[in-house]
Symmetry: C2
Subunit: 391 residues, 2 copies
């Protein structure tokens, strides 16, 4: 088992040491911004208030005007509804707790021809239900949070994912590239919110599909587990220097979600298309991050603070610095996504050619071409609003 | 005013007579399937039950097996959640009542540069929030239901859209073409459900965006008004022989929704791209309809039964025949959508060339080519499941 796990880790590029310790969601930077005085501040309280309180102006700066916040907060609306639906039960579904809005299944399970065929059909169904990318892997307890977090008591509460859900369907939803070009801005936050909304409805539908087949399924967005290692194992992409998943089809421009299930499903294998080697020599995100939160050095076991998981050799972001910048500017930031050379429209032939080049020994040329092209430059939010639109 | 209205009707191709009478939602075929013994039957009760009750098998026929119903019902799940959220208050939001899950706005309205600029920005925002097509028109009381329908009392209840919401933003969401190729089947019903789910989240987000700007807005899906005349006035497409909207970009393969608002917005104009002239000589839907529910003759003021609006010269479908077929086969039908020559992937150059040809005097050639191509043939549902899938 250990040998098998270490083979599988090697294939995924994971370097997990003997000092590895599982993570509790309480140490997630967003949870800490409520209970931990080292993170919570007037600015962080204000940051959350901008999502809740309609106001004419928060900052008299392009990208932070009323229309920008109006759009950002509208984009979060559906996810908020689900997050607040069971607030009276100390649940914040999609963020701190898995979803519990499913209907009951038929009571007995449909026969499965083979795990391979079942996996193929589940993926086909997931895409028909709106998933952009789908992969499947085994549930690995190392990536499960040791505990969930209660906003009511501001402390740990038990993990909810029941034993026996041995497989995880991981999905990635692509984010709007034009909105993200305006990062950092309240406007670019609309890409985040809109993608979470799509994530929510697709996860709920996949959960219900499996339930309707008679198996157990649990839809989960940001709660319950670290999703990036699961996504890598499920073949959705590689790990990038900025600590984000980089997918073949959308680069880092995705949000993730997962459905735990006991349905017998074949697993995918990790993919490699040169990201590690490119990130080794690229510093686009590191240099662009105003908070200096992104690794400049080799992968290491460095831990900045309690928001980092311990015992894994990797590029590690300083979540405290990152979040402080968010709080100070009253919205989330996605500069690292914007500047990442893999943030391209891969529907275009030129982008696919670039990806191919970045997968070869000519990747320095690929990075030079990317810098020269000006692709990662910020679009003024007022220009996004002016953009001619077709319909 | 009357002259202006009749100019505007002419531009939209509406022929509204003096005997015109507004429609009450109670006469909608779905409402009648509850209160009207002429429509309600054991088969129609069973039809609804298949959406609610998980079961291993409903019909031992390809396209109606467990996986087909599992996927169809999963696709409806999110819309169902919203439809049932306020069931205790005799509301079925999205179908019989407008949505009431919005947050409050800021209390005062953002200045609008001009209705034209405001309309452009609202459309741009709507597309960023996930709308496929967006158009704007004035609220026309002729298309508003005289009354809403109460499932609890099985009778009429007051219309809820408040006076003063003079503009309507109409959206169209495209439906999955591959799933629809399998119509009629429970499987193809997944295209309906998945599109309603997307419709719901986009309508709620647009409503919230306008609310956040300080204006009044009300999101509405199938409730409150007849949406097809509004969509035509808003420039989303033309009216087809099958009684459905035919859009330029997705043909008849859309579902519609609307947001009523008092925000000052410029209106769009109807579009014409040859649909009327093509439907005049095409009978693809009429011939393919197993229920013989679609008009074979010229537009007329014929009324089949109380589910038809009175006093409009148009192609009119027999909703009783149509729904009886749905009830008998335990799922919705979309054969008329599948066979419609405008049901194409207009992302492809060949399809755009076909649309151009169908807009010229060579439209008989276009229809002949369409028949020869086999485009509208049914795909066996089991082949949909077998289809190789990428991603």
């Amino acid at each position: 088992m250990d040998a098998k796990r270490s083979d599988s880790d090697r294939e995924a590029g994971f370097e997990v040491g003997d000092d590895f310790r599982r993570f509790s969601q309480k140490d997630d930077i967003f949870c800490r911004s409520f209970w931990d005085p080292e993170v919570r501040s007037d600015r962080s309280d204000m940051f959350y208030e901008t999502y809740r309180t309609p106001r004419m102006t928060w900052r008299p700066v392009d990208g932070f005007t009323q229309r920008d916040y109006a759009l950002r907060n509208a984009s979060w609306h559906v996810t908020d509804i689900f997050a607040e639906l069971k607030g009276g039960e100390d649940r914040r579904e999609g963020f701190l707790d898995p979803y519990t809005v499913g209907r009951d299944g038929p009571g007995s399970a449909a026969a499965v021809e083979s795990p391979g065929e079942a996996a193929r059909q589940v993926k086909h169904a997931a895409r028909a239900l709106g998933a952009d990318l789908v992969g499947i892997t085994g549930c690995d307890e190392r990536w499960m949070y040791t505990h969930a977090y209660s906003r009511e008591t501001e402390t740990e509460k038990p993990q909810e994912v029941p034993a026996g859900l041995g497989n995880v369907i991981v999905i990635a939803q692509s984010m709007d590239r034009e909105l993200l070009r305006t990062a950092p801005s309240a406007l670019s936050g609309a890409a985040t919110g809109a993608t979470y909304s799509r994530d929510t409805i697709v996860l709920l539908a996949i959960e219900q599909y499996i339930t309707n087949l008679g198996y157990r399924a649990l839809a989960s967005m940001n709660d319950s587990a670290l999703v990036i290692p699961l996504a890598i194992k499920a073949g959705l992409g590689e790990y990038g220097r900025h600590g984000l998943l980089i997918t073949r089809d959308f680069g880092p421009r995705v949000r993730l979600g997962k459905v735990f299930t006991d349905m017998p499903l074949a697993h995918d294998r990790p993919v490699r298309f040169g990201v590690k080697e490119t990130c080794d020599i690229c510093r686009a995100c590191t240099d662009a991050c105003p908070a200096k939160a992104i690794a400049d050095a080799e992968p290491s076991t460095l831990v900045h603070n309690r928001s980092n998981i311990r015992g894994i050799r990797k590029w590690t972001t300083d979540a405290e610095r990152c979040f402080r910048f968010w709080a100070n500017q009253n919205t989330d930031c996605a500069i690292c996504v914007r500047v990442c050379p893999y943030n391209r429209d891969f529907g275009r032939r030129g982008s696919r050619a670039w990806r191919w080049l970045a997968g070869t020994r000519l990747r320095r040329l690929a990075l030079w071409l990317d810098r020269k092209s000006g692709r990662g430059r910020r679009l003024a939010p007022s220009r996004w609003w002016k953009a001619a639109s077709q319909g």
